[in-house]
Subunit: 410 residues, 2 copies
């Protein structure tokens, strides 16, 4: 494991001073190599799928694993699109001169080796590599055992493309030992890994918290709320809540909880319950009193990230109670208020503690693509380093350059 | 322990929306309360010192523990100076409008609860509190058992000042249980602590790596190098090396290792050996061949942070070898090159991986005060969140505000 880390680290040192043109050429060439290797990739994918089926894996899980021509082409297109993004490396973000004549610059530099540990979805192998390359980082990847054959085939194609352009192949290193022990060793490569980003569920996150000694950024759960204020446009509220809950329920920026001001509960709840057709609703006593089809919510419901067609409903007395409810149960991802009252909106913005606070729009917009970052490696729910959608910008760090003329400290 | 964390967290929510004026008034009032409590603080300090002496603590350690009128006044002055610093909270760092009309802003907000775990030096209690307050964060502090009486007296004075102005006293919470078990629990207050900054030696850092589940920023060792290039002004090199090594050897930005280009080794080494009067030099064969008083370096010397009047000396064939030596042994803190060759300086800047790279000046300048940040909570040697000196700016995070007019995602 250490050897794999050392290889990525050595390659990262070359990549840190590679020109934007060379990185972009590598993106295009690796995209072509992916498409050219479609047959090998799909054959490998069939092996993964056959193994999953033999072990009675759920069909939804197999679906996330499955590749076809279009999905391989989409991976290649994802790499090509990164060419258009500005290269963050080398940007001088601040510069100033001290009274003693020292000139100080703060410049953006790559992190070095970015490690990603992820479950299923073999496209992450290509997507993560592309974002790392554009930001000048070597990618040290560790996918799941379920997707191992697909991941190897994809990594082989990408490494072929890297070598064609002349960069070190080890700017992409795939860890093929998918044992639990290997995952632990991976999280402890402190000399080699500059940033670890886990992409997976609570058990992976817990394992990181317990075992990792490398710096990491947590891409955590989203228990996202939409609060419908007393001054809300209820038509707008209905379309936003339906979008936030139903447009793609399985993702972290989908809404899981609806909070409604008591002044509008009687008018709004029947209308939204009807609009959320097919969504199982659970709620508190007051919500149930208005809409009889709402089932009782348990204590766990308020903290649940369902990732499914289910939603909890809470009726609150006022804005303060809404904010307290949100801050108590929020995972710090994305929280929305629907209101025409600017003071209420501002209060919600100021006091709700989350990566993104939205006014009169859907939580589903909290996403690297929708924010205009071009692509994202994940959505950080922690406050250090990066908070919210992480694009190439968030895969850099800074370095101070201090230019002197012999100054010494007195 | 959890209860202490909850108290700090509740107070942090009030502080997050406290005005700059109220924070500044609190800084001034707590400064006055510190000075007014000088007698109580010095009495408590005598208790700590008597306990340390009774257990045969080294005099240098006792010296770090010791307070007097001037040191209490210096703590108060540190708080007052923070009033002048700009308040980072609320600054809009970026804003843009998406094609669908969504207006996105990225604003600076406090982290929430900043936890500091520190050894000795009771002034950290006041300094850390001040920086946290200015940046809108509650401070959850855990000092050492050696300084516990001093820390309690200082915290009492500060909390009295906080209450006078009307902020919640719990924006400063001092953990008084100094047991090892309490330290572990402290590092695992994941629901309460937004950022942990350890200030201490390798054993504290290792305990953090092993036990912490909260996000943290490592303020690590400084094995800082000065590389004297073939194109160096040797007079300038001498004064910079002497300053970097001798001006204050016990701190992390002092130089520990001298790397010399072979072309100038015969001229430079005798001159620097004489100038580093009182410094024990250990070196490789080539350095010893030029200056007979240089003792042989062991393998460990190249990685050592002496924090003392000792320095390792390496002679290298060229710039490449110098960069490789530095990158192999660097702790990523501060690395300097002395040269009049701009191309060599640029190559060193580009390829040396450290928080700060300096040209023709002393590593001692890598410091919050010297950078103009007003004060610092530490110097980060990691790449995530903050790298290099950390001032009030680095004690903030960001929040995205998304303003819409009913947009939904298609």
């Amino acid at each position: 494991m250490r050897n794999l880390g050392e290889r990525a680290k050595a390659a990262s040192q070359v990549l840190a001073t590679t020109s934007t043109d060379d990185k972009n050429e590598t993106l295009l060439t690796t995209a072509d190599c992916l498409v050219a290797a479609t047959k090998e990739i799909l054959d490998a994918n069939l092996t993964d799928i056959a193994r999953a089926q033999a072990s009675d894996t759920a069909e939804t899980v197999i679906d996330r694993l499955r590749l076809d021509d279009a999905r391989v082409e989409a991976m290649a297109e994802g790499l090509r699109k990164l060419v258009q993004l500005p290269d963050p490396v080398g940007t001088i973000t601040e510069s100033w001169t001290r009274p003693n004549g020292l000139e100080i610059q703060k410049i953006q530099v790559p992190l070095g080796v970015v490690a990603i540990i992820y479950e299923n979805r073999p496209n992450v192998t290509s997507d993560a590599f592309g974002l790392c390359l554009k930001s000048g980082n070597a990618a040290l990847l560790r996918g799941s055992s379920a997707a191992i054959d697909s991941n190897i085939a994809i990594a082989d194609a990408l490494r072929e493309g890297i070598a064609k352009v002349g960069l070190p192949e080890d700017i992409l290193v795939l860890v093929t030992d998918t044992s639990h022990q290997a995952a632990i060793e991976f999280m402890q490569l402190r000399e080699q890994i500059d940033c670890l980003i886990p992409r997976g569920g609570p058990s992976l996150i817990n394992s990181i918290l317990e075992n990792a000694t490398v710096p990491y950024v947590i891409d955590g759960d989203g228990n996202c709320h939409v609060y419908v204020d007393s001054a809300a446009d209820l038509g707008l509220a209905t379309s936003v809540v339906v979008n936030a809950k139903m447009q793609r329920p399985s993702v972290c920026n989908a809404a899981e909880s609806l909070v409604v001001h008591s002044d509008v509960a009687e008018r709004f709840l029947p209308q939204i319950a009807q609009a959320l057709d097919g969504v199982e609703l659970v709620g508190d006593d007051r919500a149930q009193a208005v809409v009889s089809s709402i089932a009782p919510a348990t204590k766990d419901d308020w903290s649940a990230e369902y990732l499914d067609l289910k939603m909890s409903v809470r009726v609150v007395e006022n804005l303060d109670d809404a904010i307290e409810h949100v801050n108590t149960h929020s995972t710090g991802h994305s929280e929305a208020i629907i209101t025409d009252n600017q003071a209420a909106a501002q209060e919600f913005i100021n006091r709700v503690d989350a990566a993104a606070v939205l006014v009169n729009t859907s939580t589903r917009f909290v996403d690297g693509e929708e924010f205009g970052f071009g692509a994202e490696i994940g959505i950080s729910t922690q406050k250090l380093h990066a908070r919210g959608p992480m694009g190439v910008e968030q895969l850099t760090t800074t370095k101070y350059i201090v230019n002197g003329q012999g100054q010494t400290r007195g």
